[in-house]
């Protein structure tokens, strides 16, 4: 059995995110933290999960984490590789994807994501990379999982730009815009697992990772945190989960000459 000193907050985040995926899922994998979680799931409890990267690789099974969403490793291990227009039209827009797994530079309590600009769009303080596939991943996948580290500058009261729509201002905002998919249903951070309130759609803490208390969650979050009536403790990583993640990262570092992969 592992105890808290045996693993890092980042490892707990990746493993908690991996647990949310199942064998039957068809998962559109976003760049960054989601990729590690999706591959840990595939290498542990969900060997038959279908992982799709927006470069057109369907059913990929990389031995090391890719540095970009179009590494050769993804294509070589995929069931098939399709063109980018086909990926977005037939597979994403066509409704074939069950889970979209995204990271975020900035998020608000309703799971709206900003990866476009900090500050004003026309005169940005910081120009971030932009949305890429995310605006349509957020609305075309049946549901969306988000994983990111907590910090007051990234979990904010108001995001500077709506790159990808979550639950808007909450409640039935998605439905009012004609969006029929569920949107963000899960947020996994380095401290907790959050789920949207069924009515208001505000993200609510349902489980805290081992050794984390409510203050730690509030201090790293820019809005007043709501906790579920019964907050559970996230089970710590099992030996298998930790070993799988660490071996994957070690293989990745060897393959990429010291860079950890995404």
């Amino acid at each position: 059995m592992t105890n808290r000193s045996d693993f890092t907050a980042n490892e707990m985040m990746t493993i908690a995110a991996a647990r949310a995926l199942s064998n039957d899922d068809v998962c559109f994998v976003g760049i960054g933290a989601p990729s590690a979680a999706c591959n840990v799931a595939r290498l542990t409890h969900a060997p038959d999960i279908t992982l799709i990267y927006e470069s057109g690789t369907i059913g990929t099974a990389p031995n090391v984490l890719p540095l970009s969403i179009g590494d050769g490793e993804l294509c070589e291990t995929a069931v098939t590789t399709v063109s980018v227009p086909e990926m977005f039209r037939y597979w994403l827009q066509g409704g074939r994807i069950s889970i979209g797994f995204l990271g975020a530079a900035q998020i608000d309590r309703f799971g709206n994501i900003n990866t476009t600009v900090i500050g004003d769009y026309r005169k940005p303080k910081v120009r971030l990379p932009g949305g890429g596939g995310a605006p349509e991943i957020a609305t075309s996948c049946q549901e969306v999982f988000i994983t990111m580290k907590q910090a007051t500058r990234s979990m904010v009261e108001t995001i500077d730009f709506y790159t990808s729509f979550g639950h808007g201002t909450g409640g039935d905002h998605r439905r009012r815009l004609g969006i029929t998919t569920k949107g963000p249903t899960l947020l996994i951070t380095d401290l907790a697992v959050w789920r949207p309130d069924p009515e208001t759609k505000e993200f609510t803490v349902v489980s805290m990772h081992p050794g984390v208390d409510r203050n730690m969650i509030q201090e790293t979050c820019g809005w007043t945190v709501r906790f579920s009536e019964s907050v559970e403790e996230t089970p710590p990583p099992s030996d298998l989960e930790l070993t799988t993640l660490r071996e994957l990262q070690a293989r990745t570092e060897r393959a990429h000459g010291g860079k950890k992969g995404n």
Partner: protein, 281 residues
């Protein structure tokens, strides 16, 4: 009908000041050698279209060639931000650039519409997205059969497409393998095209019948440039040079360092250096 040319001739004949040019390659087969030739020739006031601008557009923007950039993800893949593009957007250095920003889905659909000869692309997208508030080229259209509101963007119809591919046959047919991205669409959407290839082979007689092939009569110019995608990769030939992408983050962070690097590695170099750069990858 495809012409076999030197890179210098192909770029000079096909790309002119003020053109709209799309360099494509989705993390794979990125036409770096061709972009460097455009920089050497100093072709300016370009409208540059590309889903993922990455290093080649960072270099072209930093050298002052771009008037406008149409894009959907402006990052150094797996590393971080594009520092030259940011400097142009945030500080107008070395010149101000216009930007037109889309999502990947919109860009891919716009290329497909261009290839299909349609004036616009229609798709289910941009719902709740902030881009439609800041980009007047994102509009909506009602389905005449169901009444569903859908997104519409203009088709991409570049003057020139520039891509890199694995092989051309002596006849000028072009083979693209692996992550094929939007390369077929961008060539068919454009008036002219420049294709660099790893090698020219006699014919394609022994290939699988369903491979991605651009027939010779759809391509304007073909140039053999071994290693021409470096530091991106060519499936079946060489791997991605991840160290070069990390190094770019350091070089591009400083204007003087950037200019010095461009002089040594681009302005004072030629396409023949690419074969050397991919040795051992």
């Amino acid at each position: 009908m495809a012409k076999f040319q030197s890179l210098k001739e192909a770029v000079a004949e096909n790309i002119r000041d003020g053109d709209t040019v799309a360099f494509e390659g989705f993390t794979h087969l990125i036409p770096h050698a061709a972009a460097h030739e455009v920089i050497r020739q100093g072709i300016k006031d370009l409208t540059l279209i590309r889903m993922t601008p990455d290093i080649i557009y960072d270099q072209m923007i930093g050298m002052g060639l771009a008037k406008k950039v149409v894009f959907s993800y402006a990052g150094n893949p797996g590393v971080g931000l594009l520092r030259r593009m940011r400097d142009a957007i945030e500080n107008n250095w070395p010149r101000a650039i216009e930007t037109e920003e889309h999502s990947h889905a919109a860009m891919a659909n716009a290329y497909e519409a261009g290839a299909a000869g349609l004036p616009c692309a229609i798709f289910r997208g941009y719902r709740g997205a902030g881009l439609k508030e800041v980009n007047p080229n994102i509009k909506s259209i009602l389905c005449p059969f169901t009444g569903e509101e859908l997104a519409a963007v203009p088709a991409h119809r570049p003057d020139v497409a520039v891509i890199h591919a694995q092989k051309a046959s002596r006849r000028g047919d072009v083979l693209i393998e692996g992550i094929v991205g939007v390369q077929k669409e961008v060539v068919l959407a454009s008036r002219r095209s420049v294709v660099t290839v790893e090698e020219i082979v006699e014919d394609f007689d022994d290939l699988h019948p369903n491979l991605c092939i651009l027939p010779h009569w759809t391509v304007t110019s073909i140039v053999e440039v071994p290693g021409g995608a470096h530091p991106s990769y060519t499936h079946g030939y060489y791997d991605r040079d991840n160290a070069a992408y990390l190094e770019w983050d350091r070089i591009s962070a400083d204007r003087d360092l950037f200019m010095a690097w461009m002089r040594e590695n681009v302005l004072d170099a030629g396409p023949e250096v690419f074969a050397h750069r991919v040795k051992g990858l």
